[in-house]
């Protein structure tokens, strides 16, 4: 049981509700109906929104790679989906992305919080930030960055369009300036 003085972690950290709302809205506008997620601080509002939305199926994962399988199944079944994870989760999902998403040409929309960039305060997040974009490039995964409010709607829609026209996994990096109100 939670004690009376319990403060949800999400309220104690300045993750942008406004940006999260804009991202969530854009996902829905592109037709996403299943979101698989593994929480991390920057994603708390997005995950709550999916949880509270009757039109969305939120799949809470034990490990990010499962999300690739779930999105693959959803796509084959004709349902649009997206994955929410941090960059270390992306690193944990790579074989699934290559051996399932890419091998089977699955339009997989990955929203990846780009931890470990300038401004990062958590020492343990710092290695992933430096390698994420290089790994995306090595995997030939088209990606773009969401850094400001004006990027959100357009870039999510464009990412979804390319994922489907190219029939390939694509990624959007959720960056600090967008996600963190400090």
């Amino acid at each position: 049981m939670l004690s009376a003085s319990f403060t949800p972690y999400s309220l104690a950290v300045p993750v942008s509700v406004e940006s999260s709302t804009a991202i969530y809205r854009a996902l829905k506008e592109t037709g996403v109906r299943i979101v698989s997620a593994l929480p991390e601080t920057w994603l708390v509002h997005l995950i709550r929104m999916a949880e509270d939305d009757d039109e969305m199926t939120l799949v809470r994962l034990a490990k990010e790679e499962e999300g690739v399988g779930i999105s693959t199944g959803a796509h084959l079944a004709g349902v649009k989906s997206a994955m929410l994870m941090q960059n270390h989760g992306f690193l944990a999902a790579i074989n699934g992305i290559v051996s399932c998403g890419q091998l089977y040409r699955i339009p997989l929309l990955m929203l990846i919080s780009q931890r470990g960039s300038f401004g990062e305060q958590d020492p343990w997040q710092c290695e992933g930030g430096g390698v994420t974009e290089h790994v995306l490039e090595a995997l030939r995964i088209p990606f773009d960055r969401l850094e400001a409010a004006e990027h959100v709607g357009k870039r999510i829609a464009k990412a979804q369009t390319l994922a489907h026209s190219a029939s390939r996994p694509v990624a959007l990096l959720l960056c600090r300036d967008l996600m963190w109100d400090d």
Binding site: R33, I34, T57, V59, R60, L61, A62, K63, E65, E66, G67, V68, G69, I70, S71, T72, G73, A74, H75, L76, A77, G78, V79, S81, N95, G96, S99, C100, L103, Y104, R105
Partner: protein, 191 residues
């Protein structure tokens, strides 16, 4: 029990289902009995067959999904069992052919050969119905019961570590993938 015989025993029941298999020996065996457009063979990505099955089951609750998994594959995604149990798709039957080995890559033994019990693991993960079966008739009956149950079942079928001599078939991966997706779309239109 040979896995090929087990597949043969339930093959007629697969016609009205959507089937996802793991790579290698199982995929080749099912194709040797007869490929159908409602069969999808996940020819790599060890562990993810059950996750693909979950994605289909959640996306299309009206379809009956069957996953043919393997012990080595499932051991690579044990966390996925907890996710499967958590969402408890009532339209999914999860069969694990446990030959206690990585048959498709030389037959090296897995941990089920030294006592790890996948049905117990699935049960402890929260899968509501689990069983281990050893004989052909027992398998067929348990499979039919699982299909009728309208709830999530993980059925572990202990099989001999024997399989086909080769695993590459003339069905290309992408041909299979697009045919399968198109077939599911048609099912949605009631055709």
């Amino acid at each position: 029990m040979r896995r090929l015989d087990a597949l043969q025993a339930v093959y007629p029941e697969l016609e009205r289902c959507v089937v996802v298999t793991i790579m290698g020996a199982v995929a080749a065996e099912l194709q040797s009995i007869g490929h159908r457009p409602n069969f999808f063979y996940l020819q790599h990505a060890m562990g993810l067959a059950s996750s693909v099955g979950l994605g289909i089951a959640l996306g299309r609750p009206e379809l009956q999904v069957v996953v043919f998994d393997g012990d080595g594959s499932l051991l690579m995604n044990l966390g996925g069992l907890t996710t499967l149990a958590r969402y408890r798709p009532r339209n999914l039957v999860h069969v694990v052919f446990d030959n206690e080995s990585l048959l498709s890559v030389g037959g090296f033994p897995t941990a089920t050969s030294t006592g790890s019990d996948l049905a117990e693991i699935a049960k402890a993960a929260g899968v509501p119905h689990t069983a281990t079966v050893r004989g052909l008739e027992e398998f067929r009956e348990a499979f039919l019961a699982a299909q009728k149950r309208d709830d999530l079942t993980t059925l572990v079928a202990k099989t001999d570590a024997v399989g086909p001599s080769g695993y590459v078939t003339d069905l290309s991966l992408l041909e299979n993938r697009y045919e399968f997706a198109r077939h599911l779309k048609q099912l949605g239109r009631g055709e």
